[in-house]
């Protein structure tokens, strides 16, 4: 370690949706790397350790090293000449960069989608159908005496959710931390999260909806046939006991993961758990929150909603935003071969999308922004190396409970931020198109009003 050391207190980890903002980072400014990250979990420690400055080209265009400006020109030409491009990703960058990405999608009259569509997109659909009984994580920490984790494995995906907010954390009305809470875990398999629970419900695969609907019925005093156990793996007695605990608790929280949304039933599963929370509010205070994965995926929902009125899966082809999951969501657009170009920011669909979608990504011009080389970067026609948000780049991110948090970067990067690259692309596309491809019009023009 060199002598040029800086300590950054109250820094923010952007690895996962917990967005823990109590990091104490020791930074070797000569080597441009973080040498110590106090308070970080195992994922956060890896995040800070592995995001030193790498020797990478500023940009690659058709596999050749290029300047950022050359990359911007190539990217702008692709977007200006595309007939139906998609702008996708955005869950690991700042709200400031997300805002510019929305402007680009609007300008080119394309589609705008975020990783939410393959994460808690079904939950977003369910919100629109049934609403959300919500809370901040601070409220859960201070008040919740019954916490149910459903379809998730926070011990491995969000380690500090347990210690900072929902299990061992001591709060205003939970002064004894763990002793003041009952923890329930619902999953199809035992995970490192299971030992944390007082009660573990090991449901059979594809039966979450049935279990949730049975709980709703029991909450409302309806009869459930004991054969529910053969169907779901959970006995009626266990369900009745859980309902009794949920009704008697002072403040309950349902924290659910992608075990509900990536599963058969998708938004019906998410809607069922949200409805269960609503039902329970006739008896006590209950909330339901999706547990979010990436550091600013919640910010993406917020920014896209502010700007367009919809959280993801938005299309601008008519000059105004339209929302239609299944039509304007990226997995569908790519799998069907609809889009003819893709601008992918801070995500890696080439390593987690369906096979047909990845095959289409290989056929079309892709523009990629990422601090690291990824599978998507490998197939991109234009690939930018960008600085890492939170470590090199200031800005705003949203915690999974929609609380905005300001980033305190640790050291400078020689690479531009996503916002800087996107702003340059936006400006050049505007020059090439002379403004929005589809002029904003009156959405009701031509619609007969009776």
């Amino acid at each position: 370690m060199g002598d040029n050391i800086r300590v950054v207190a109250d820094a923010t980890c952007t690895f996962c949706g917990c967005v823990c903002d109590d990091m104490v980072l020791t930074v070797d400014l000569d080597q441009k790397r973080i040498t110590k990250s106090e308070n970080a979990c195992v994922l956060g420690k890896a995040w800070f350790k592995e995001h030193a400055i790498e020797e990478r080209p500023f940009a690659l265009v058709d596999g050749r090293e290029a300047t950022t400006a050359e990359g911007v020109e190539a990217a702008a030409q692709i977007l200006a000449n595309a007939r139906f491009p998609v702008v996708y990703g955005l869950s690991d960058t700042t709200c400031e960069a997300q805002r510019v990405a929305v402007a680009i999608a609007d300008m080119v009259g394309g589609c705008l989608d975020t990783t939410t569509s393959v994460c808690h997109g079904p939950t977003g659909i369910a919100f629109q159908a049934g609403g959300e009984s919500t809370a901040s994580l601070g409220e859960i920490k201070n008040r919740a005496d019954l916490v149910v984790f459903w379809g998730g494995n926070p011990a491995e995906a969000h380690p500090r959710l347990f210690t900072r907010y929902a299990v061992t954390a001591k709060g205003m009305y939970t002064p004894n931390g763990r002793k003041d809470r009952t923890i329930v875990l619902v999953d199809v398999r035992r995970t490192p999260s299971t030992p944390v629970a007082d009660i573990f419900l090991q449901v059979k695969p594809r039966t979450d909806f049935e279990v949730l609907w049975a709980l709703r019925a029991l909450v409302k005093g309806r009869k459930i046939d004991p054969s529910i156990e053969q169907r779901t793996g959970i006995s009626l007695a266990v369900l009745e006991d859980l309902v009794d605990r949920m009704k008697r608790c002072r403040y309950g929280a349902l924290l659910f993961g992608m075990g509900l949304t990536m599963n058969r039933g998708r938004h019906f599963n998410a809607g069922a758990i949200l409805a269960l929370a609503t039902d329970l509010n006739e008896f006590t205070h209950f909330v339901a929150k999706p547990v979010r994965g990436h550091g600013n995926v919640t910010g993406a929902d917020n920014v896209v909603s502010w700007q367009t009125g919809f959280p993801f899966g938005v299309n601008f082809s008519r000059g105004y935003p339209r929302f239609n999951p299944g039509e304007f969501t990226t997995a569908d657009l790519l799998s069907r071969g609809d889009v003819d170009a893709a601008l992918i920011i801070a995500s890696d669909p080439a390593s987690n999308f369906p096979k047909a979608a990845i095959e289409h990504l290989k056929r079309i011009p892709v523009i990629n922004l990422d601090p690291k080389l990824t599978h998507t970067g490998q197939l991109a026609r234009v690939s930018f190396t960008t600085a890492t948000y939170g470590i090199n780049v200031p800005g705003t991110v949203y915690r999974m409970d929609d609380v905005p948090i300001t980033l305190r970067p640790a050291f400078d990067s020689p690479y531009p931020s996503d916002e800087q690259v996107l702003s340059a692309i936006r400006d050049r596309v505007r020059e090439l198109l002379g403004g929005n491809r589809v002029p904003a019009g009156d959405p009701l023009a031509g619609v007969a009003v009776s």
């Binding site: 989608d113 569509s117 393959v118 997109g121 491995e156 599963n263 569908d332 987690n352 047909a356 080389l373």
Partner: protein, 126 residues
């Protein structure tokens, strides 16, 4: 000797730490190309830890190394693997008009590999 099983894709701690180092790195590719399987199922199929196994769906197939899990942790008939390029090989593009492809509880055909086929995580496939 293929059997139908249910595959759950998900996150793991090692997947999370290794992707910080880089998704093209050997550690990440090794983790993403490992499938956890019930030990009784493995014994019946003649598999042991690190045996190669082929998973197949109507859209694609991938060859992975398997790792045994006790019945109390992973019930018979259930498989778990970390999300990554190899789980993508098995995913269908249909989202039932939601935007969300199914990546948990996939029906997969499981078959021991006895012909020495390279596993999907080996470098020339990476």
């Amino acid at each position: 000797m293929a059997e139908m099983m249910t595959l759950i894709g998900g996150r793991s701690s090692k997947q999370g730490t290794s992707l910080c180092a880089g998704k093209l790195g050997a550690e990440y590719l090794q983790i993403a190309s490992t499938v956890e399987m019930n030990v009784e199922d493995m014994a019946r199929l003649g598999l042991s830890n690190d045996s190669k196994v082929r998973l197949r769906t109507p859209v694609g197939e991938t060859v992975l190394r398997c790792k045994g899990r006790a019945t109390k942790d992973l019930p018979p008939g259930l498989l778990f693997m970390a999300y990554g390029p190899f789980s993508s090989e098995l995913m269908a593009g249909d989202t039932a008009a939601t935007g969300m492809p199914i990546s948990k509880n996939l029906d997969v055909e499981v078959e021991p590999v006895i012909d020495g086929a390279p596993e999907s995580g080996e470098p020339h496939h990476g």
